[in-house]
Subunit: 647 residues, 2 copies
């Protein structure tokens, strides 16, 4: 719960946070209040006002509409922790008063059922998102409390959690169930951590343990209340909800990707805190499955649009992918929780991969347009003409077309400090190198970070003791050596560190004094990446990266026909300043493009295509694609062996 601890002050993330603070949060406020002129009304705040008895009317919007306001309040909480903003705080306080008023005497809070009839509540946990909305509201209550010190919303969500705790559980008379869309598990753990109330932790564990047990609650509920079952004839069945079997028996990630990683995040929390070995084993099995067999190189997950879902191991098509922004955000949540469990470079590598690629590709530079789907290969013609790729938008949507991912991005970006470092016993571990300052738990000690990352490899960490503090406590600064780094060098006050990293982290244990300076140099070379031969879609191809960034080719730089481009195996890369973001480095290389000349009259022939044209290629960081209009894009590029290049 160290949200206030890391104060971001770097070029890369501060830009993004400013965009969220000045554009996204005010815009969403308008949207929630139906004030965006050319957009369909959200009805979200109105639903709360109706539920509070302040207006008359029907519930409108999706069954999970409440969560939009929750996500907004959570982002506002993080924002106010970073920067005071009286006007914003006042807006939030006012709407929190409405929420408080809408809450029922027993703590229940879901405007859909408050307006439509409380007697119907808890009758469709599988599809009606009550516990999902509750989870988001709990996260909002905590964030707003930590950001402002005000506990009105925290009190609301405690009463809500108590209501849920009275309703669900193993005891007779309670409902033996769990949510169709997970999130409440990790929310309850956070609420336990914020309040110390162990009941919330036990409830989180209950939801996890109960999930998928026979007789299956979702099946019985569906029959009892005659809820239509959307996945009746699908390959998923209840695994769409990760509920086809008990979670400890689930060996592969299946079903809706966002739900899955939200569940796995909660499982990781519970396994760590409660030292539940069998649950931890399940989490590790699933982690390996997701990150070693079902994750795109951009940190995107969810191979199929059908059910926004995982498919099966090594099935990673680049052009029909789903790769929802929210799923990569969920992967960041999960990776951070795995790091809390165990300091291991693999978790930080995945977290960083998702953060700098598959998450932030979800928004345009100016923060006004958003991707829901994040393809690794895009072709506007295919999206226009092929129903199977219609979901692969080749222009980001305006905010109001896409309710789910932008507020999720807002809350992630405004809480980015939470992902920079962790405190563990007598150590502080740095996962990412982001300029800023962190208040450590060690006496009178701050650490100030200056870093060239993500564009350069040099980082300085300066120990800052409080004025007149003379207490020299021994603690460890653990530094992640990123997976992409081939050579590194660390110095403390100019003296080279000769220790070797363990599990991807270098441990520096000292009695640190004021102005001690740690310097970490990570080589940041351009790399060609290759996928496992099990991924049929990437055979013969390479993906270019530098540091945390995966690069791509875009039509704006390289013209049409990107799939016909190849990169000879001996081409060299040259770095060059980019035009889209401050500090951005693009990559240039000599490539080739297979020519389709002479093929107009035949689709197949017995002579191998050999006509190539030289092509000056420009690669840009993947997350920056589609900021210059619509066009083709590809991450994976054909690689030609040198001999062919010289033909």
């Amino acid at each position: 719960m160290d949200m206030k601890a890391y104060l971001i002050d770097d070029r890369f993330w501060k830009n993004k946070m400013e965009v969220v603070r000045t554009k996204m949060i005010p815009y969403q406020w308008k949207a929630l209040n139906d004030l965006v002129e050319d957009a369909a009304p959200s009805h979200c705040v109105k639903n709360f006002r109706i539920a509070a008895g302040m207006e008359k009317g029907d519930f409108q919007g999706c069954v999970f509409q409440d969560s939009d306001l929750a996500k907004w309040l959570e982002a506002v909480g993080y924002t106010l922790a970073w920067k005071k903003d009286r006007e914003l705080e006042q807006m939030a306080d006012e709407v929190i008063a409405v929420i408080e008023k809408a809450q029922q005497p027993d703590g229940y809070l879901d405007t859909y059922y408050i307006i439509n009839g409380l007697e119907k509540r808890w009758t469709n946990l599988r599809d009606n998102h009550e516990l999902y909305c509750a989870g988001h509201m709990i996260e909002a209550g905590i964030a707003y409390y930590l950001g402002t010190g005000k506990h009105t919303l925290l009190d609301v969500v405690k009463r809500l959690a108590d209501c849920i705790d009275r309703t669900f559980g193993p005891e007779e008379g309670k409902i033996h169930a769990y949510p169709g869309h997970e999130i409440i598990e990790m929310a309850l753990v956070r609420l336990y951590e914020a309040t110390g109330e162990i009941r919330y932790l036990h409830l989180a564990k209950y939801f996890i343990d109960e999930r998928g047990k026979e007789p299956l609650y979702f099946r019985e509920e569906g029959e009892k209340y005659e809820n239509p079952f959307y996945w009746e004839n699908s390959l998923f069945q209840y695994q769409y909800y990760q509920a086809g079997k008990p979670v400890r028996e689930q060996k592969t990630a299946e079903g809706h990707a966002v739900r899955a990683v939200y569940l796995y995040s909660g499982m990781t929390d519970v396994a760590r805190i409660m030292e539940d070995d069998s649950l931890m084993e399940a989490v590790e099995t699933l982690w390996d499955d997701v990150t070693k067999r079902q994750m795109y190189i951009t940190g995107a997950i969810g191979s199929s649009e059908y059910g926004e879902s995982f498919t099966f191991d090594y099935d990673l098509p680049n052009d029909t992918v789903y790769g929802e922004t929210c799923a990569s955000i969920g992967l960041v949540f999960w990776a951070k929780r795995m790091l809390e469990k165990e300091l291991s470079g693999q978790y930080a590598d995945v977290m960083e991969r998702a953060l700098y690629n598959g998450c932030i590709s979800g928004m345009s530079i100016d923060g006004t347009r958003f991707f829901y789907v994040n393809p690794l290969e895009a072709d506007p013609e295919a999206s226009r003409k092929d129903q199977r790729r219609k979901h692969v938008e080749t222009s980001r949507w305006r905010w109001y077309d896409c309710a789910c991912c932008p507020p999720n991005l807002a809350r992630l970006i405004m809480s980015i400090g939470n992902y920079v470092c962790s405190v563990r016993e007598d150590a502080i571990a740095f996962h990412l190198y982001v300029g800023g300052r962190v208040q450590t738990p060690f006496t009178d000690t701050q650490i100030r970070v200056e870093s060239q990352m993500p564009w350069g490899g040099t980082t300085k960490l300066i120990i800052e003791k409080a004025k007149n503090s003379h207490y020299l406590e021994k603690f460890t600064v653990a530094l992640r050596i990123p997976g992409w780094c081939r050579k590194w060098k660390a110095e403390v006050n100019g003296e080279e560190v000769t220790d070797l990293p363990r599990n991807g982290y270098l441990y520096l244990e000292r009695k640190w004094k004021d102005q001690d300076e740690i310097r970490l140099e990570c080589s940041m070379q351009v790399e060609r990446n290759y996928a496992s031969p099990m991924v049929k879609y990437d055979i013969g191809k390479t993906a270019v990266s530098r540091g945390p960034f995966i690069y791509c080719l875009e039509e704006a730089d390289n013209g049409k026909g990107l799939t016909r481009i190849s990169l000879p195996s001996d081409s060299l890369f040259e770095m060059t300043e980019g035009n889209l973001e401050t500090g951005e480095l693009d990559l240039k290389a000599e490539g080739m493009q297979m020519l389709a000349e002479g093929w107009e009259a035949c689709l197949y022939r017995t002579k191998r295509p050999t006509k190539y044209e030289k092509k000056h290629l420009r690669f840009i960081p993947y997350y920056l694609w589609n900021n210059r209009g619509e066009g083709e894009m590809t991450v994976w590029v054909q690689e030609t062996a040198c001999d062919r290049a010289k033909e």
Copy 2:
């Protein structure tokens, strides 16, 4: 209308015809009469009996159920032309009597509307298949007449066609419409050719000319009768039915692939016979689009399961393909009609490609199981776990699960003689070399064919004059030089022919006499085929062929992980006897398989995969896949440049 003319007597096709005659036709008869024990009843014959007043009951089955009986009767007609079978003929005669009785006094014949109320007929031409069922019945009537000389069914379909002619047309008081599922266009042309009644030809032309004109009939009909429109929110709209614009303005093949090629077949007929240049131009444009930009190397068409449809140029995914058996059959219909228009090797090459690959892959060797979908890359795991590939069955279905393709295959195979040759003015042109005998239109002249095809390249054509015939007429024998043939040699009575082929055909003009012998040797080498670089799915890959056959790798011979197999560019092929069909030749070559060893712990790395294992590969003809249980299959194989192979 020379169906009786070519009497097949060769190893390859005779086998298939015997399978159809002895297994498929009797089995379908049982199915049509609800006598297959473990299958849901078809209700087809029963519907006719109810419509004829011979039984009581409701209409059951699909709205196009009548067409099943029509296809069966058509296949029976071809069968009886080939081989007398009293029992079969009697069954057919009996059911024809029922059909005759079901026909309404005005000629109308569709059991769905006869049973459900004639006042509703012609109110949903877009979706309710009345004209489609009529088209199939017309084809059946002609085939049965030609096969048996009996005209009861021909008279029925003439009355039916007359009823349709009175109902539709440009005149005031008639409905200005066209069918949602095409076929009646080509059926009416055949009926014109069989009867000489020009009205039928004009009606075919009317249906073609009216199609897609504004105001759009389908839209107006939908509004008037409140027919729900299934494609409202799809990319297709009315192009699903090839009705989004007038046919002469359609430049790319779109929508449902079977409907499309059935339409194009009818358009080709009408354009040829009526010398309609603008229609011919449209047909040629569409032909180029389909065969040069939207056809798989197996002759499969229809890239997407969504709407069983074409997508767009060069979009030819191998693993999510639809490639319906019926669509390849339709392509054969169309190609033959293009050949009637103009003797050009490109049409025969496509016809042969579809026939020997994408059509007959639709059935198992024993004729009891069938594919609806014909993939070029199959993986049982993917079909089981990925909803987007669920349609790609990796085992053929039993007949009764799949009503559409098997009877279509039956009628194609039993009429294969129709595709062997064509008569043109003073010439007879051979498109395929199939053992048998053909009665030419030239005085007292038969031609007997003996051929090693499709497994070998030598063909003999022997002129046989009737006994005591001394009239020596001059005519031309045109011989197709197949597109796959690199070297050929022709001799007449041992004397080498020095003429060169024009447009893929060699023209031999002689005063032919009895026992003149033409010998054609076509080199039949193993070829590596390459797709246009515009087809992104096939870049870096090769497909192996020999003669008309495309080959594939199957798990039964080559183990799992076929997508990791590559064929070095210098590997040689060795022919070897196959075990599945008489005469079958398989191909052996040395290949390599990329190993996934060492990749268990990582999905991406910066070192190129270099571990290969040598692999003895066995390729079998594509159409024979899945006759040895379920497993992976691929047509396109990675090709490695020699240097990589030697690494």
